[in-house]
Amino acid sequence: MDSSSRFALDFGTLGLDQKSEMSQPILASLAAALFALGAQTALAQNKAGEDVPHPGTENFHAQCIGCHGIPGYKTAFPDVYHVPMIAGQQPGYIVAALKAYKSGDRSHPSMRGIAASLSEEQMQKLADYYGRPAK
């Protein structure tokens, strides 16, 4: 009885290990989705219905750092490759990329969620921020 309960425990541990390994991409995409949702709710609308940054979210580039601020960081969903380097990129291209994500022309789920929360003015600010040369 003692040995069978130990077996059950071992089996359970093994099952948990496998599960946690398998669900990593799912967890990552969930985190990205929640992140994007958070980004969206950080926006308010003015009386004209235009998106404006919520007070206190002036440093909205914080939502980029989690993936683009880590050298060598890789996407987990929908498949695995390096998140592109954007620091030093041409601002015009960064704006074009964000607009393409917002319109759906580009399909990465996390980036679509984040770009959807950005106004064109914010996109331009982000592009100018990331496009500046290395210090």
């Binding site: 750092i65 683009h68 601020g69 050298p71 060598g72 490759y81 390096h82 998140v83 592109p84 380097m85 620091a87 030093g88 990129q89 041409q90 601002p91 015009g92 291209y93 704006v95 074009a96 990329a97 393409a100 022309d105 580009r106 399909s107 040369p133 290395a134 210090k135």
Partner: protein, 109 residues
């Protein structure tokens, strides 16, 4: 034990980061196809809305070109150029651009 594990993981990471394309062949292909807009080494785009490619990650470049080729990314100009590239060409071109050290791209928050 821990040290061995670190070594194995390090080796795996190095393998996965290694480009499988041929940068020399990529250089020739770039000189035919990409140079007019991106520059020979990918560091001098000819228009403000075109990206710097020099020093960009290999696997991201492969992904981007493959997406243009199969229509998942919809830029009409890039669609035409990517359509001319085989899978091997894409890997070679990505190997060339990603191996360029002189680039405005940098790791910074």
């Amino acid at each position: 034990m821990m040290r061995a594990l670190v070594l194995v993981l390090g080796a795996l990471a190095a393998m996965s980061a290694q480009a499988s394309g041929n940068a020399d062949k990529g250089k020739q292909k770039v000189a035919q196809v990409c140079v007019a807009c991106h520059g020979a080494d990918g560091s001098k785009p000819s228009a403000p809305d075109q990206p710097v490619l020099a020093g960009q990650y290999y696997d991201y470049l492969v992904r981007a070109l493959t997406d243009y080729k199969n229509g998942r990314r919809t830029n009409p100009i890039m669609k035409g150029f990517a359509a001319q590239l085989s899978k091997q060409d894409i890997e070679d071109v990505a190997a060339w651009f990603s191996s360029q050290q002189a680039s405005p791209l940098h790791n910074q928050r």
